[in-house]
């Protein structure tokens, strides 16, 4: 599971893909936000998703996490069709973070992570009221696991602090810890380094490598190209909902179509059009 599943050319080996999207299309009325995207992610792979603002990256994420039900096309995860409800997607093993941080602001860091253990624990109302040994063991395990994950993302000392009082970078890391608490096989990060300084970005890179080492596959949306090219095994560039290029970072980086999409038509002739998206 843990070996990289890609060859030098970026083409997958004979391994079964963990997640495969086929012809995924998402329409909002007349607007086609995601247009026939084919996409495979292999176990233990870090996949980059880039594209100018409004290219449909987050919409595509929402299709993969059950927040949206694709208008057409299908997503198979771990050999089964992805269920259309966010809760069941999480259960199946896909976890995500949000572009604009959505922590439970008035809960402590530890509680935030503990909440995410919900789908992996089972004490019901009666057990919670009676507090038998099973309940206590499960609570202890939940707390231990949450503590361990806070350690893993490098936040052991803020466990008791309210999420709202954490620094921006710490909030991002807490969101990752919370997503990891659901025991995912695939982690979707929506702009994990947005608003971070270079040092925090480097820490985030290290963290994502550590997550990869745990055997998880990661898909990350990012605008920071250096980050993407340092980190990813393969990169998909979306433009106006359509997949433009899929390949290794080097291939994507040097592809004239990608440069064009980011900077505008005819980069040479239109200096004034330098896209604010880039």
């Amino acid at each position: 599971m843990t070996q990289t599943a890609t060859t030098d050319a970026g083409t997958p080996t004979e391994l079964e893909p963990l997640l495969s999207a086929r012809q995924v299309t998402m329409r909002f009325g007349g607007l086609v936000a995601v247009d026939k995207v084919d996409f495979d992610v292999y176990p233990g792979e870090i996949m980059g998703l880039i594209g100018p603002n409004g290219a449909g990256k987050t919409t595509f994420f929402n299709c993969l996490t059950g927040l949206y039900k694709p208008t057409s096309g299908r997503v198979v995860f771990n050999g089964a069709l992805l269920p259309p409800k966010p809760g069941r997607v999480v259960r199946a093993g896909v976890a995500r973070t949000f572009q604009n941080i959505r922590l439970f602001a008035n809960m402590t860091a530890l509680e935030n992570v503990m909440v995410a253990r919900y789908c992996r624990t089972s004490s019901g109302p009666l057990t919670s009221i009676v507090r038998g040994p099973k309940y206590r063991r499960e609570e202890r395990e939940t707390e231990d696991r949450a503590t361990e994950l806070l350690d893993f993302v490098g936040l052991p000392e803020v466990a008791g602090n309210l999420a709202r009082n954490l620094s921006y970078g710490d909030q991002r890391r807490l969101e990752i810890a919370r997503a990891l608490a659901t025991d995912p096989k695939l982690l979707l990060l929506d702009e994990p380094t947005a608003g971070m300084n270079p040092q925090e970005t480097r820490q985030a890179e290290e963290l994502i490598f550590k997550i990869k080492d745990r055997g998880l596959a990661v898909i990350t949306i990012e605008h920071d190209m250096r980050f993407i090219f340092n980190l990813c095994d393969r990169v998909l560039c979306l433009v106006q909902g359509r997949p433009l290029v899929l390949g290794t970072p080097d291939q994507v980086q040097s592809d004239p179509r990608v440069i064009e999409a980011y900077i505008g038509t005819g980069a040479q002739e239109a200096d004034g059009q330098v896209g604010r998206d880039a």
Binding site: V90, R96, V115
Partner: protein
């Protein structure tokens, strides 16, 4: 929250003078207790004597003396005890404000009860004037930062002693308040209590008490239960007071169930009374009396569970299609459900449908309970003290209330409780993190309904008769108000809210027509100045004061040291 203050520079300059004035005012207020306050003996508890303070005057005397004491302490121990900060001046300001309110209330009570301000004697005027001057003077004092006495290390014996004292005071307050037949005295006493609590809160003493007693939760709970248990023995067999007390318990137990729905899961339910009503009707139908519609009489335990299950089923029926919609829609639907319930109960009289409830007459005799040979209708004598019918029901209600509180706090402090908090915080994110949002909402709705149903089955016997018109929307709104006023998501707050809301109308029959007006006014004022309720759950407080960073930092400290499960418990205090 607070009114615009006086600039600090001015306060610094006039501070010393203000201190002397405040001390003087306190002493004058204390002295005014020895002067006559009214010309007629019918106002309050007879405040007409020179040199012989009544009980109400004695409390004023005590509070008057505390004011200078606080100021003196702020000079003597400006740094507080140890390295913790005491809110001396904060307390003094609260006390001065409170004394002003008290004297206004007293003057008002005398005028209303004797007919005009002419009946106020010079003692009350002296007190009022001193309170007014004291109020102004304390505005010139510079108050210290937020008190931190709660971090004080307290030896165990002192904590236990504090618990004992608190419990005795509470027993006395309940006993005295219930005993007052004079509405003026009752109101004044309630205001006194409120002021006392406010001063404790502002000085930080309440925080210390919470921290000290929190370390001995079990002792505290046991003591509270014991005090509540002993209460009927202070009543000397008086059924009048015990009937009120029993109604308070029914109301409190029901409000605590609603607290799960509103306070924990954050769902607005405006038809909650229907669940209480359905439980009551089921119990009445199965009570086996001549009026009961079914000729079966199962043991009461079975009836109780059945009532709860019927209510919970209704909750599921109304909840499962509606809980997918959010906020306002749910409120409207539950409101309609309450009305449907009332109308159905009115119409199930045999002419429009099956005769289940005898229509608007209701089931007018439910008989008395008889559990294990203990007849709840008879008067028993225990240790020479008569325990009447309502006192019997009081005991069973007390046990039920304890069970409800246990269920509430254990659910709150569990995996499920964490899920509820997450749903309140950010429903979308909670769902994306695998929390079963719909299931948890439904669970809150159904368990709340179950608890109300069981409470209803006991209420059916306490009330003797069950009629549709005692389960109307107004009652739903009172229940909701008890939860909101007291403090959503807290145990103590909702108990206080329920007690106040149930006790007020009983003791203030003279304002009966204006009751709703006062009540509405109270709600508006509360929502403006303290939307989180009398006792605030820390998390709720943050939710209501989203911008308040100072509060967030402070609560961070409080929630900080405790981790995990314990931290959730902090919010349920």
């Amino acid at each position: 929250m607070s009114l615009p203050g006086i600039p600090v520079a001015i306060r610094r300059r006039y501070g010393p003078v203000a201190r002397i004035v405040t001390i003087a005012c306190g002493v004058i207020i204390a002295a005014s207790a020895y002067l006559p306050w009214a010309y007629g003996s019918d106002a309050l508890d007879n405040v007409t004597y020179v040199g012989g303070p009544s009980f109400i005057q004695f409390i004023a005397l005590g509070m008057g003396l505390v004011l200078p004491a606080l100021v003196v302490c702020s000079i003597r121990w400006p740094a507080g005890f140890g390295r913790t900060r005491v809110g001396w001046i904060r307390g003094a300001r609260a006390l001065a404000t409170g004394l002003l309110i008290i004297f206004v209330v007293i003057a008002g009570a005398i005028s209303v009860q004797l007919g005009g301000t002419i009946n106020i004697n010079y003692g009350a005027w002296v007190g009022l004037a001193a309170a007014l001057i004291g109020f102004v003077a304390t505005r010139f004092l510079v108050q210290e930062g937020a008190p931190t006495v709660n971090r004080l290390k307290t030896p165990g014996w002192l904590s236990i002693l504090a618990i004992a004292v608190v419990m005795l005071v509470m027993l006395f307050v309940a006993y005295y308040a219930l005993d007052q037949s004079n509405p003026g005295t009752f109101v004044t006493f309630i205001v006194y209590t409120g002021v006392g609590v406010a001063v404790l809160l502002r000085t930080g003493a309440l925080g210390w008490l919470t921290a000290a007693t929190g370390a001995h939760r079990r002792v505290m709970l046991l003591a509270a239960f014991l005090v509540a248990f002993l209460f009927p023995f202070t009543q000397g067999g008086s059924d009048a007071n015990m009937s009120i007390a029993a109604q308070v318990l029914v109301f409190a137990a029901t409000a605590m169930g609603l607290n799960i729905v509103v306070g924990l899961a954050g769902l607005l339910d405006l038809g909650y009374i229907a669940f209480l009503g359905s439980g009551a009707f089921v119990a009445a139908m199965l009570s086996g009396t001549a009026m009961a519609t079914f000729d079966v009489h199962p043991p009461f335990i079975v009836t109780m569970l059945l009532s709860g299950c019927v209510a919970a089923t209704l909750g599921l029926v109304i909840g499962s299609p509606t809980l997918r919609v959010s906020g306002d829609y749910l409120a409207i639907i539950t409101l309609a459900f309450g009305e449907i319930f009332r109308l159905s109960m009115n119409n199930l009289d045999g002419s429009d449908g099956p005769d289940l409830t005898h229509g608007s007459r209701g089931i007018s005799d439910t008989g008395d309970l008889n559990l294990f040979g203990f007849d709840f209708g008879a008067t028993h004598t225990i240790a020479g003290i008569e325990i009447g019918r309502f006192a019997n029901y009081y005991f069973i209600l007390l046990i039920w209330l304890a069970i409800v509180i246990l269920i509430f706090s254990r659910l709150n402090n569990s995996r499920i409780g964490r899920g509820w908090v997450a749903i309140r915080e950010d429903e979308k994110a909670a769902e994306a993190m695998g929390v079963n949002v719909f299931g948890l909402k439904l669970l809150a709705f159904a368990s709340g309904a179950f608890l109300a149903g069981v409470a209803g089955s006991i209420k059916a016997h306490v009330d003797i008769s069950v009629t549709p018109d005692s389960y109307v929307f107004l009652q739903s709104s009172f229940l909701l108000a008890a939860v909101v006023l007291g403090g959503m998501g807290t145990v103590l707050g909702v108990l206080i809210g329920a007690t106040l809301l149930q006790l007020m109308p009983e003791k203030l029959r003279f304002v009966n027509e204006y009751r709703l007006m006062f009540f509405g006014l109270l709600l508006v004022v509360m929502m403006r100045f303290r939307p989180e309720g009398i006792i605030a759950s820390e998390r709720r407080q943050l939710e209501f004061h989203d911008e308040d960073e100072e509060l967030a930092e402070r609560l961070d400290d409080n929630l900080g040291p405790s981790t995990g499960a314990v931290a959730v418990e902090g919010a349920s205090r």
